[in-house]
Amino acid sequence: MTATKYIGKSIKRVEDKRFITGKANYTDDIVLPGMTYGAFVRSPYANAKVKKVDISKAKAMPGVVAIYTGADVAAVNGVPCGWQVNFKNGATMKEPKHPLLVADRTRHVGDPVAFVIAESRAEAKDAVEAVAVDYEKLSCVTDPAEAVKPGAPLVHDDVPNNICFDWELGNPKSEVDAAMSKASHITTLEFTNQRLVPNAMEPRSYIGSYDPINDKYTLYTSTQNPHLIRLLMCAFVLGLPEHKVRVVGPDVGGGFGSKIYHYTEEALVTWCSNKIGRPIKWTAERTESFLLDAHGRDHRTKAEMGFDKDGKIVALRVKTHANLGAYLSTFASCVPTYLHGTLLQGLYTTPKINVDVTGVFTHTNAVDAYRGAGRPEATYILERLLDLGALEMGKDPAELRQLNFIPPFDGVKQPGYQTQVALQYDSGNYEGVLKKGLEAFNYKDFRKRQKEAAKSGKILGVGISTYIEACGIAPSAVVGSLGARAGLYEVGQVRVQPTGKVSVYTGSHSHGQGHETTFSQLVADRLGIAMEDVEIIHGDSESVAFGMGTYGSRSLAVGGSAIVKSIDKIIEKGKKIAAHKLEASADDIDFADGRFTIKGTSKSLGFGDIALTAYVPHVYPKDLEPGLDFSSFYDPANFTYPFGCHIAEVEIDKETGKVTLTRFVAVDDVGTVINPMIVEGQIHGGVAQGVGQALFEGTIYDDEGNLTNPSFMDYCMPRADDLPMFETGSQVTPCPHNPIGAKGAGEAGCIGSTPAVVNAVIDALWSAGKKVKDIHMPLTPERVWSALQ
């Protein structure tokens, strides 16, 4: 057995030295010789005809190098959508072109009309103001439920009723209706899961560079997946040969999903760099980040949960209008469908489930995956319905969950759990996390405290959320059958250097996750070497063979497993080399703690000896290649299914309606944990974002399609002083189908927390005699105060 020196230890993040000392290398830090700077002329109107674009004055401005308009790129393809969803009748979803610059029609505020390239950023900005665009403003629609009504303004003239697709999953609607009609109680919620701005700290930044001597392009991009960007840009947009395009994703300051997608600006700076023969940098201004980084959520939903007289769930029916924005972002179509509908089983044995989703174009920015991506929407539906159902039926929400839980199963001795909505859960112990959560919270005393507090005029509330999510994205064959246009495996190369030091090349991409630490811990333990002897390399298509990047909490479960596959190959080959040197059979060699040992003897060789021998193969097996360097593709057998229990306690100021989150307990089961500190950090960050959705965040579009709160002065992000000290706990139910047992922790906090907080506010209001079913998120003081009146 290999002793675990590192796995399970809270080792400080090795990458933090450069981040904390300000020495990280972000795209905007890169300056290439002869570099120019780009700025966009963007539409001030949500829907307008572009009648004329006059660049003559701007072109004569100081420092201006070139200006491109929609007409110049009319022959270039638009950016593609990576997931095909079909209409119920089998027809393919509507995929209107998403051009790099618009030529004749703008479809959301910020749609780019012209791209100005100048010697400096300031000169580019000045010239932008000198471009004269003649617009004919048209009426617009921003709400997905309004956009499908007859007569609504069309986003694309050839997409009737603005419907991109209609889609359903689960049991036939007639069966669900029949089961629902027998329910003794039906809890119904009609609500909006509001639109959110991801707000990565680092704005998107791209540098396109073309080398005419070697006919070669380089794109530096603030992305979560450089190889995927290269594939999409080369194969679908610019028609460039992939071996002539290098994509580098250097240090990236946060993504939360918004940097998965292939954006028009990436392709445009690459295309223009060839035209002008100089590198071009474009970095989003914060206003552009608010307006144009793909947003998250934005569902209008009606959901009904039917219970029998004991509280057993008998049916679930969900109808959602999902806002996709004006154009389809890379994974826009799969988020409200296959990442949302498939999670509506939750942790419960609900026998009949039907989910119906209409994907709708509106005159707004694109909506795509944002931390949790579909699973928060599903969890919000289920967990709100359960707590509200408990209030309506006079039952305890914890007991109601307990009654409906799928019983524990490990996925090895007991089979996985087949849901009504296409997934098979890998392993789970749902009552375990609930029990731990209730104990940590001291739930049994809460109602007493709530009553006591009420006597002194305080309004307290408790909210529970027990969630499950599907991550470790994803088995390629499964997602392929569901419409994915890419495989979702990962690549991990382990190169043992002659001196026994190890370089690991991973297709995963860290933008805050701490891969350099977690992966080093994994590799060092498996090889029995020191962590300092392991280097993790990622983010450059020229050094990493291939990769699908980081999203969907997949890096350790999928990327880590690919690395483990390569480590296994290293050990297997090492055994052959050791056997030869020790004059034994490879089958008789054990590898543990960094030594190759003949079983039952003390004859052994160290890992360093074997590494050196592999590269200096003087005494070496005749039929074995030199070297110790393996690359592996790992395609997971299934998604992974983390789950957990979040409990929130709130206090409401009854005079102002202000909600104070006084306690937050999170017990999460994310499978095997390599670095508990990093996992806890992920949970903390996720919970803060989930609380942000519940209490603070949300876009506000006006009737003209303007985002009216595009700044940190207007759009409220959660801050440290808005949050209590989180109380975290854990349970470990290993994933049975990957070699690490890890499930994924990146999104869990964000998925579980939002409904817990809203449930707590609703519980508080009921305790004060105000039996409201829903308050529109975010639960601002005024909205809560209004509910109290």
Partner: protein, 275 residues
Amino acid sequence: MIPSSFTYQKVKSVEEAIAALKDSDSKILAGGHSLIPTMKLRLNSPSKLIDIGGISTLKGIKESGNEIVIGAATTHAEISSSKVIQSKLNLFAQTASAIGDIQVRNRGTIGGSLAHADPAADWPAAVLAADATIAVQGSKGSRKIKASEFFQGLFTTALQEGEVITAVHVPILSGKSVYMKFPQPASRYAIVGCAVVKHADGKISIAFTGVSSNAFRDGAAEKAISGKKIDAGSAEAASKVAAEGVHIMSDHYASEKYRKHLAKVYLKRALLAVA
């Protein structure tokens, strides 16, 4: 976030600043925490910035007879941490420490805030409640403007073209005083800010910021509470008449109705805090 081009002049005296202001389209730069964000968004494009941050006579806090004189270029952080302010003008220490965040308080100045006259800024309520006067200097000489005459509307003050605020004169407050605010959660400007001063003679001064297009003294509420023992009943009675008869602002975070309600709640709380 790139402003239009502008020239920059760092001046050494108020006189030099006044002379420089003669150029059309020039603006005084103090802490820059209101002006620069608008320039970055190109909502404001002055052709020249006159930096008064190097004028030593505009900085500092001193006690002079019955009043405290605060230089216009004194930062919020300097005010909140001043021992003199904490002991003799505690209302100002409270107000300064309620502004923005640490970075804003380290850069932003009291003169800059007053000249900008943001309807939701914190200082206007404090200077009104404390009966401060604002000393200004222009090409025609110096004058003093009562706080009650200074704020004239949305971002509008009694300052005339070419005038620069030099200091704020505030009578020492011997009684209890308080500044309380319900902050806009994102910007932390005041949705409602309420300053209350209890004078030795039993008179109560009440001023609101954030509520209307400019900060104002609430005469009706003052009348309702002055000379009375402050308790739950009298505070409630005063709050009933507060913020009536004025235009009430409305935005994403607070409708007119809610904002008015909050003004009453905050007056009640502020009064009880000085009881």
